[in-house]
């Protein structure tokens, strides 16, 4: 009989195989450690027509044993200047939060975690967050200020620096 973690592990395995067989434009995915299906490493390409264009940003997706009932956590390993990514790289996006969490109470409910979400739908949301930050809940308050007050100056400069750094790391 299956142990409780099997369903999530199987679902992750299938998604990984599928993503490697038929990659999706905009990101690539693999495991941090081949023996641990719950810890993923993804490489996200900076979305075109944004200051992030040309960057290759590495992030970790850490799935709980309760996946897909509970969402993974996502953390950028590459340095990234963005209002919704805190200075430790943790991604603060409502799709990665359970519907019950009050901290995000003011956000639209349809953006919350649901078991139906896939790695692909998560990453697509993160890519669209890169292009279009949520100004209401900046996890990086300074980046939020830059984005609002000095978009073509300080904000652009700090983002471009991250883009160059990410290219050097390749």
């Amino acid at each position: 009989m299956a142990t409780p973690t099997d369903q999530g592990a199987l679902l992750l395995k299938r998604q990984l195989m599928d993503l490697q067989k038929t990659p999706v434009e905009g990101f690539s995915a693999g495991l941090i450690d081949d023996d641990d299906i719950f810890s993923w490493e993804v490489m996200i390409m900076g979305p075109p027509d944004t200051f992030y264009e040309g960057g290759f940003f590495k992030a970790h997706l850490l799935f709980p044993k309760e996946y897909p009932q509970k969402p993974p956590k996502m953390k950028f390993v590459s340095e990234l200047w963005h209002p919704n990514i805190d200075k430790n790289g943790d991604v603060c996006i409502s799709i990665l939060h359970d519907p019950g969490e009050d901290k995000w109470g003011y956000e639209r409910p349809e953006e919350r975690w649901l078991p139906i979400h896939t790695v692909e739908t998560i990453i697509m949301s993160v890519i669209s967050m890169l292009a279009d930050p949520n100004d209401e809940s900046p996890a990086n308050v300074d980046a939020g200020k830059d984005w609002r007050n000095d978009y073509n100056g300080a904000f652009k400069k700090k983002v471009m620096k991250c883009v160059r750094k990410s290219q050097d790391c390749l």
């Binding site: 009989m1 299956a2 009932q69 019950g100 649901l114 078991p115 979400h117």
Partner: protein, 257 residues
């Protein structure tokens, strides 16, 4: 501002930890689907001088013999529905082919609504595997019970039944939208009240799921409401119930004649 935000975040963390603790306690006190028990056990759960409940329990005992308790984690309606129906079919096997095609029909309709096929197919295949196992002569009731006590499989069933419910509500938005108080769209209602795990089911969910799968359910209401008898409401209305559930405010268990 930053201090305030971190204080809010800290309090939220505390609350989440507390919720986790409560969920663990609930988990330890009851299986997802319990063993069959005599209705009499309810008598002891309420005070002897609680006239309303004691009278209603006596009435319930006249109408039903046994009960199977389910875990009170907000998923109880979906889990009870899935288990009770499949348990019944384990004996009868009369409705399974129809049921299976209804489930397949739901999958096609969800795919056409744009649900990600990856997760949807995964939930679907797991659920259909369980349905097919019920169709086999070799499957015992102990095995079905084990399936529904396995968190991975059991939660997958709940997940899929929730999405089927959501799909039916969205396909019949015109009919259901008048019941969605406080929500601007049916989609918003579904992604807040239906699809997330641990969200309790009410009339709308029951009406949608029983209609979507063509499974008639009788819900016996036992609450502080007027009268000394329990009332049964059948979903969809006017049908002949295949299974019976006991509702006490906030919770559903399975009943047996």
């Amino acid at each position: 501002m930053a201090d305030f935000m971190s204080e809010v975040a800290r309090l939220d963390e505390e609350t989440l930890k507390q919720i986790d603790r409560i969920q663990k306690e609930v988990a330890e006190s009851c299986e997802f689907i319990g063993d069959q028990e005599d209705i009499d056990i309810l008598t002891k759960q309420y005070l002897q001088d609680d006239e309303v409940y004691q009278a209603k329990i006596s009435d319930l005992k006249r109408k039903y013999k046994k009960l199977r308790r389910t875990r009170g984690d907000g998923n109880c309606f979906f889990r009870a529905f899935g288990y009770a129906y499949l348990e019944k079919q384990l004996e009868e096997k009369t409705d399974l082919d129809r049921f299976k095609s209804a489930v397949i029909q739901c999958r096609s309709s969800l795919l056409s609504m744009g649900y990600p096929s990856f997760t949807l197919e995964d939930f679907h295949d797991t659920f259909i595997d369980i349905v097919e196992s019920v169709n086999k002569a070799s499957t015992s009731s102990a095995e079905l019970l084990q399936t529904f006590r396995d968190q991975g499989l059991s939660d997958y069933c709940v997940c899929y039944l929730r999405i089927i419910t959501s799909g039916y509500l969205q396909s019949n938005a015109e009919f259901y939208s008048s019941f969605m108080d406080g929500y601007s769209t049916i989609k918003e209602y579904c992604s807040t009240e239906v699809e997330p795990m641990y969200k309790e089911a009410d009339h709308i969910h029951i009406s949608a799921l029983t209609s979507a799968l063509g499974v008639s359910v009788g819900v016996v209401y036992m609450d502080r409401g007027e009268g000394l008898e329990v009332n049964e409401h059948v979903f969809p209305e006017g049908s002949d119930p295949m299974i019976h559930l006991l509702y006490r405010p906030g919770h559903y268990d399975i009943l047996y004649k």
